[in-house]
Each structure stands twice: as structure tokens, then as C-alpha cells.
């Protein structure tokens, strides 16, 4: 089924020049890039984005990291793209990630893990709306 998900290339991915390599993998999987934008989140904005994790021990470190430099937010569309993209991305902790996944190949640790991906239909919708308005997501 055709659906959408949000991918974020995190500050470590952008800083290390991995944007092209990551987009290449996403396109090779057959996903369409429906929208993209570069954003440098403030600490406040990062806290708002990760509000579901508020109160967890990693919350402060995660939001510090996510606001440490520019990210690239990408809206992907494709068949079963939420689950398919999570497969390509790999597990949060690179040591647990499957061989050949983005995180297994490029992530340095569970925080500097290069990419983010929505985990459900509901969070995909919420996360896409967080970064993009209608005009920034051309239909065709």
C-alpha cells in the first residue's frame, strides 16, 4: 500500500557528507522523494519533535545532538515505505543493526546513528506535519 514516512538525515550524517549516499540508497529501494528541507533545529524545536521521549534518560542528550547542526528532513513515498525504510535504516544501536543497513554501515553509536525514521502511520503523519506544510509537498 502506498504510504509516506519521514526520514531525517541527522547532524552527523550531514556533517560527514553522507546525504548523497543515503538518498541513493533510498532511491534504489524505489522510494520517491516527495519533499525535502534542510533545517537547523533549535534545542526547543528538537524537544518539541521528540516530545514523546520527554522524561527518558536519553532525552537531553538526544535533543542536544539533534540541535548541534543542520539536518535534512525527507518525505518518502512508496509501497509499505514505513516498514521498508526501517529495514534499510537498521536498528537504533549499530551493533544490533543488520549487515548492509545504513546504521550498520555508518552509525558510530546509538545516538550518532545517522538517520531517523517514523515508526508508525500515526507518527509518520505527525512528523511530516511537524516539518512540512502543504505547499512544501508538491503532489506530482
Amino acid at each position: 500500500m502506498n504510504e509516506r514516512t519521514l526520514s531525517i538525515i541527522k547532524p552527523d550524517g550531514v556533517q560527514r557528507g553522507l546525504v548523497g549516499e543515503i538518498l541513493r540508497r533510498l532511491e534504489q529501494a524505489g522510494f520517491k522523494l516527495m519533499g525535502m528541507k534542510m533545517v537547523w533545529m533549535s534545542k526547543n524545536l528538537a524537544e518539541a519533535f521528540y516530545q514523546v521521549h520527554q522524561g527518558k534518560p536519553f532525552f537531553d542528550g538526544l535533543t542536544d545532538f539533534m540541535s548541534s547542526g543542520p539536518c535534512v528532513a525527507v518525505v518518502l513515498e512508496g509501497d509499505d515505505v514505513i516498514a521498508e525504510y526501517r529495514k534499510i535504516m537498521g536498528a537504533t544501536d549499530p551493533a544490533q543493526a543488520e549487515k548492509g543497513t545504513i546504521r550498520q554501515t555508518f552509525a558510530t553509536d546509538g545516538r550518532k546513528n545517522v538517520v531517523h525514521g517514523s515508526d508508525s502511520k500515526e507518527s509518520a503523519r505527525w512528523e511530516i506535519d511537524f516539518f512540512f506544510n502543504r505547499l512544501e509537498l508538491p503532489e506530482q
Binding site: 548523497g20 522523494l33 543542520p70
Partner: protein
């Protein structure tokens, strides 16, 4: 060499053919910084202003149709701003000559571009020609808050708006 910035557009054929990753990977060899990126649906007005200098050319109409995605059923362009030492020259080198058949085969246009049977150069990417053009183009395609590092001076602009109020 001076620190400058340049505008890169990945045109609708590049998006349609899923080449953005390949193109950005090639451009990353220049070791420049990306300071702005967005997917844009190109309006007639934006297209005409972008190609303003070519308005009198016989191929102007086709150029506009091409950048608006009328030729590829993909009405999207990926706009990027690269920043760094000699960014304009480095990006132009990696993009190759405007005519895809004259371009170095190892360049982006040489590898992915083509000339259609009706003679349109489908050359996959645009890159700014010189510092004056790059400034004009970047300011045309991006607003200051869409660029993540300060490349041009900005000022506070007053936005005046009116709304309905009870008389």
C-alpha cells in the same frame, strides 16, 4: 580562492530517474557544505525569472516547460545551496558542459544527460555561472530562514497585513 556559494538545481528528469542520490554523491567529492535544500514545485513566474537572461532565445519556452516538469510528468525540482572555497568552479567542473554530448562523460551531465529528438538539452542539473548569478539565483529560490548559515546579510522586514475586525 574565495569562499562563495552556488545554486544547484536537480531538474525534473533527475528526480524522475531517481538520480538525486547519485548526483549528490558526486557533488560531495567537492567537499563543500550544503547550507540549504528543498523540493520545489516550480511556478511559471519562478521559472521565467530564473531564466530571465534567456528570454529572447528561441528555446525559452521549452526551457520553461522542462524546469516546470511538463516534459517528465514530475513537477518537482530539488534546489540546493553549496558553500565553500571556489564552490562555483568546483560544482561546474563536476556538472560538466551544458550540452550533455559535449560534456566530459565522467561528469554528471555527461553520465546522465541526453539530447531529446526534438533537440532539448536534458542536462539533469543547473549550476550558477558566476558570483553575481549565484547571489541572484539563491535569493530567488530561498528565503533567509531556509539557509542554515549566514551567507548573505539579512534585515528585519516588516510584514503589514490586514484582517477583519468588528466595525
Amino acid at each position: 580562492m574565495a569562499i562563495v556559494q552556488t545554486l544547484v538545481l536537480i531538474k525534473p528528469d533527475g528526480l524522475r530517474k531517481s538520480l538525486t542520490g547519485n548526483i549528490l554523491t558526486r557533488l560531495s567529492e567537492a567537499e563543500l557544505e550544503i547550507v540549504g535544500a528543498k523540493v520545489v514545485q516550480v511556478s511559471q513566474a519562478l521559472a521565467e525569472e530564473h531564466y530571465e537572461a534567456l528570454r529572447d532565445k528561441p528555446f525559452f519556452g521549452e526551457l520553461i516547460d522542462y524546469i516546470r516538469g511538463e516534459l517528465h510528468e514530475c513537477k518537482k525540482v530539488l534546489a540546493l545551496v553549496y558553500h565553500g572555497e571556489d564552490a562555483i568552479g568546483k560544482v561546474r567542473q563536476i556538472c560538466g558542459a551544458t550540452n550533455p554530448e559535449a560534456a566530459d562523460p565522467r561528469s554528471i551531465r555527461g553520465a546522465y544527460g541526453r539530447i531529446t529528438t526534438s533537440g532539448v538539452f536534458e542536462n539533469v542539473v543547473h549550476s550558477s555561472a558566476n558570483p553575481e548569478e549565484s547571489e541572484r539565483e539563491i535569493k530567488l529560490w530561498f528565503s533567509p530562514e531556509e539557509i542554515v548559515s549566514p551567507i548573505f546579510p539579512v534585515k528585519d522586514a516588516q510584514i503589514s497585513s490586514t484582517r477583519l475586525a468588528w466595525a
